[in-house]
Symmetry: C2
Subunit: 322 residues, 2 copies
């Protein structure tokens, strides 16, 4: 397995973070590859390089995920990890309530499912908590728009992934006129309060817009209309939504601007190239884990005593002590 | 990627199925490798071979899982798949309520987590529904023992994995005397009724006991007591449970015998060798999927009309028709 090569620690979080100030999605090239190191090579070779890197990153993410899980299970709290926050806005080191929540948003065909498959799929499924949000059900509509979101949060120790999220309520809700303007405008503040509350509960939020071009979406829709094994991914309403492309882009831009914060930052990942998309999201997750500065928990039992008990049970056999 | 090589279709389900009649776990060697084809080679080479096979099987399981998911999503029902059941006891082909439920049971260190990581981990996490059952909570204890199980069932289209299950209620419940004998004895019939009900709801159940030896459990516990990154997996009560090894084996044997049925069969997978364990469980899943005879659903929209609409939006560009 290859080693993870560049970029510098924390660089992707800086490069892909939105704002401050107005967000101009049209100024971000969906085919660009910010942060891709020279080691990736040039031309088509980059794809193979990135795929191998995602595999190596996946193994690293799996280790981080296991530490997150182990700390939540353990009564002892953190062992080798420092409980001092290493960054001013982390402040959560060694907290047993730790969990990570990756929020994925995109236009149709933007690659949410593919990102889950390749990036989350590199981790241990036991520690994943993946939730997809479709059009709200009747029951969900009877509640506040955050009701179904709160019920879907990852438990402590888990890596949660939201495939669509509460942001739909300031995107489709706005563009399709499902609620009046005063209502969707008020939701930005509601969302900011909610995400601040999450941070206080040990949830580290990473929000990613997978940014594709209108042309690329057209190509991917065409594929779903030619390959019979992809028909099930297509819905005629996809073209109605595509007709309102500019409205959706404007709604995204405003949501990203109004709901970006240090506690729950928004990142824009150029996503026309799937290999770059997966590589960038994997790095964002890795840098997020790094800031948590996790370690395995100390034993919450008397190790020597337990070794002696086991040795007693095993008869004369020596327990494999180091 | 290598191709999947042997065993013959359906063979693992036959080889590893318990009974009929009394189950004698002591007669099943936890280091044996039933069904492993000659292509695996001999000695240590088999491990590498099996790992590569599990990877190839994982890709195949991923395709099956996607078809399962696609059918549940689609309003059109099955397309290329026949809706005729191809086996007398399958009877579920083309049902939109289809889901698969893998139930994993084992003594401590039996490899449940490892199996989930390697076998379920080869599938798409979006379509997995994994639930672990620990000691019941106070709320759970106020309900019937199947209450928490029913709430944890996979939705249609999903592959569910139970990491422990309702069988704990005739295992730990019996051995530790948590309930009286009349109570745990009555549960066999309750479980059989429940599992028959599941089958009627489109849930295909595969129950697997990962069968390890007392000596191998000792080795694995010793590892958890020497490697500080594994302390979190250890609990002093593990040794108390180990002290009642024979009682647990007897409880397993009776549960497997009383709750094995064609609709919800029990399989015993020798699990001292992790590579064999993963390979065998992957094959059991594959053979289970094969019996469902899945295909991708037909389009539930007018394909030509949608192509024309998309082409209109794309201007003069030709939609990639075949």
């Amino acid at each position: 397995m290859s080693d993870v090569v560049g970029p510098e620690g924390g660089q992707m979080r800086k490069l892909l973070r939105v704002g401050p100030g107005p967000v101009d999605l049209a100024a971000i090239d969906p085919r660009s590859t910010p942060g891709l190191p020279a080691a990736a090579g040039r031309g088509p070779a980059r794809k193979e390089w990135a795929r191998a890197q995602v595999e190596a990153l996946g193994a690293e993410l799996g280790r981080q995920q296991e530490m997150l899980y182990a700390n939540a299970q353990s009564a002892a709290g953190p062992g080798s990890a420092t409980s001092e926050p290493s960054h001013a806005d982390a402040g959560l080191g060694g907290d047993r309530r730790h969990r990570v929540l990756l929020v994925l948003q995109a236009m149709d065909c933007g690659g949410k499912d593919g990102t889950v498959k390749r990036v989350a799929g590199a981790m241990n499924p036991l520690g994943l908590h993946i939730r997809s949000f479709g059009p709200p059900t009747e029951e969900e509509l009877r509640h506040d728009f955050l009701w179904r979101i709160r019920r879907a949060l990852p438990p402590p120790g888990y890596v949660g992934v939201f495939n669509r999220s509460h942001y739909e309520d300031v995107l489709i809700g706005r563009v399709e006129g499902l609620v009046d303007e005063a209502t969707w405008r008020s939701r930005y503040a509601t969302i900011n309060d909610f995400e601040r509350e999450l941070t206080g509960q040990g949830v580290t939020v990473v929000k990613v817009l997978l940014h594709i071009s209108y042309a690329e979406q057209g190509e991917r829709l065409a594929e779903r209309l030619t390959d019979p094994t992809k028909y099930w991914k297509y819905d005629p309403s996809d073209l109605d939504t595509r007709d309102r492309w500019d409205d959706y882009q404007a709604a995204y831009a405003e949501a990203l601007q109004r709901c970006d914060s240090d506690a729950a930052p928004w990142f824009v990942v150029p996503a026309d190239r799937k290999w770059y998309r997966d590589w960038a999201v994997a790095h964002l997750l890795r840098e997020t884990f790094d800031r948590l500065d996790l370690g395995y928990p100390a034993a919450d039992f008397d190790v020597e005593r337990e070794r002696a008990r086991l040795q007693g049970q095993m008869g004369s056999g020596q327990v494999n002590g180091r």
